[in-house]
Symmetry: C2
Subunit: 323 residues, 2 copies
């Protein structure tokens, strides 16, 4: 630790937890803080809780070190440029909140707001599955399907900040209705939620499956229930899981033929399925893939766990400092 | 014209013509040359013809000016990095030809090899529909569907030089077989050739259409025959043209949600249809597009005609000089 050490405060805000940490430019975490979001109490209260987390971390910063800024990762549509969150899912009362300015006011520290999938992409790029690469695309498979694109070591946000919204690329013409209003989005097939929803719909429609027991017991089915049941030979579960993986393969091929990153990283809750996710996706890429592709896309699982969000949020501060 | 004037020789090689010109860094053309490709006589002969064109243009260069290099635009899969053409369609005998080195040997001028759609993208970016923009994606709608991506003013070629191969993104799961071997590629629906082919197939399958007269007279149907017949109320032609435009709309939306350029430029032979192409594509974008997109993609027609190929080829030389 030198006198010149600099850190960013990375904060990852979700519907349940606020996860935060003191992050070095290399993505090293020197202090961590986790608290409840208390999302039900609205944005003002949550911003106080973010500021409190930042305050605690500031007190934990090594003597003589500098805090260069707060990186704030949040879900849903938002503007990094303007520091405004438009309408995140699962956070009641948040509508067009200028959260970067409000949190800066409260902490006196400059705040860089970033989409949570972009944060995960930066974290995996710097100190996870993408270490040593120059370009990657990351897909988060959770409630929705988010994306982050790093090209030549920098986040690519696009002209209107809607680059990397891979979850809303259309993979099935006139397909399932997505939460965004479009038909046939990747998110309508390959998110954890839509995988679970497709299983539930099939069971309600009378399809026989061991998952109906799960549904009776828990009132719902998760994407991991689906992959587990598929592993035991359940026909319906196998059909749905295969479909999820095949749509992911199409998305990976389309990214390969558009952005052509060095690496496509699968992240988010559904990655708990591990090789049972990765292998069928890679099989389907080989199945669908063109014979003229010399080199198929390289696909892997994320390496950083739940810390990726706040680590990446912190790292974006250094990116913006350099810019 | 100053003493320090520099020019590149841009050469656009197709199956029928070699189009070439002396191009300034701003894309101005000070001399032009057009000759037959004589593709049937194989690569060696064609390279001699390219060298001859370069020689004639060199003689036309203003006194005191410098030729900084030859930019060579060619169709099909190739490596800019290695200067090798792998297997272009419509050019018999070309297989893994190190054309950049061979043409350099013959002319003594360094040669930069570039995919023809990339050349068109650079030309439209510098002095066509993309003037004043920072990012664009261009799609060429001809025999195939090619693509070129310019981000922050530079060509984006991808990690393995297969970025912008938008023609081979999948827009229809288990759809029509593409020339590349994949099922459901954009190219299998939205190229001029596949638009014509779908019409011919339907007529052969017995569908009634005014296009059957065209087919009897010419032995074939072109994409422009299809759009013309659609304009006169022909049901089949209308159905096929609408399908072409709807798949193009899906590709534009997917590009918007992946790369998010400022502008998507439609180029290539099928653009002779003008607003009869652009309007239904934009209508379909609005139809399909998510209600959550604040700003739909901006789509327009290419402005440069047949010169775009050699102008862009020449411009890539300056890009490489600056790099």
């Amino acid at each position: 630790m030198t006198d010149a050490a600099t850190y960013a405060i990375g904060i990852d805000v979700g519907g349940t937890f606020i996860k935060a940490g003191l992050v070095s430019p290399e993505g090293e975490v020197v202090a961590k803080d986790e608290s409840a979001s208390e999302a039900g109490r609205g944005p003002e209260h949550m911003i106080v809780r973010m500021a409190d987390a930042a305050g605690r971390l500031r007190n934990l910063a090594p003597n003589g070190s500098t805090i260069v800024g707060i990186g704030l990762g949040m879900p849903g549509t938002l503007s990094h440029r303007d520091g405004i969150v438009f309408m995140p899912p699962n956070l009641p009362g948040w509508k067009n909140v200028p959260v970067a300015a409000l949190l800066r006011e409260r902490t006196g520290i400059r705040v860089s707001l970033e989409n949570d999938a972009n944060c995960a992409a930066v974290a995996e790029f710097t100190c996870g599955a993408g270490r040593g690469r120059r370009h990657l695309v990351l897909l988060t498979l959770g409630t929705g399907v988010g994306g982050g694109i790093v090209l030549d070591g920098r986040l690519w946000r696009g002209a209107d900040e809607c680059a990397a919204e891979v979850g809303h690329t259309i993979v099935q013409v006139q397909g399932r209705r997505c939460g965004c209003g479009q038909l046939g989005c990747l998110e309508a097939y390959a998110s954890a939620s839509s995988t679970a929803a497709r299983a539930e719909e099939a069971i309600k429609a009378g399809r026989a499956s061991s998952l109906s027991n799960v549904m009776q017991a828990k009132g719902r089915v998760s994407s991991l229930d689906v992959v587990n049941a598929a592993g035991t030979g359940d026909m319906l579960a196998n059909e749905i899981w295969t479909e999820t993986c095949r749509y992911l393969a199409i998305a990976c091929l389309n990214l390969h033929h558009t952005v052509n990153p060095e690496l496509i990283v699968l992240a988010g809750g559904m990655c708990a399925a591990g090789r049972r996710l990765l292998n069928p996706v890679m099989d389907a890429v080989r199945d669908y893939g063109s014979r003229m592709i010399n080199k198929p896309p390289t696909i892997c699982l994320a390496e950083l766990g739940n810390d990726a969000g706040f680590v990446g949020a912190g790292l974006t501060v250094f990116e913006n400092t350099r810019a």
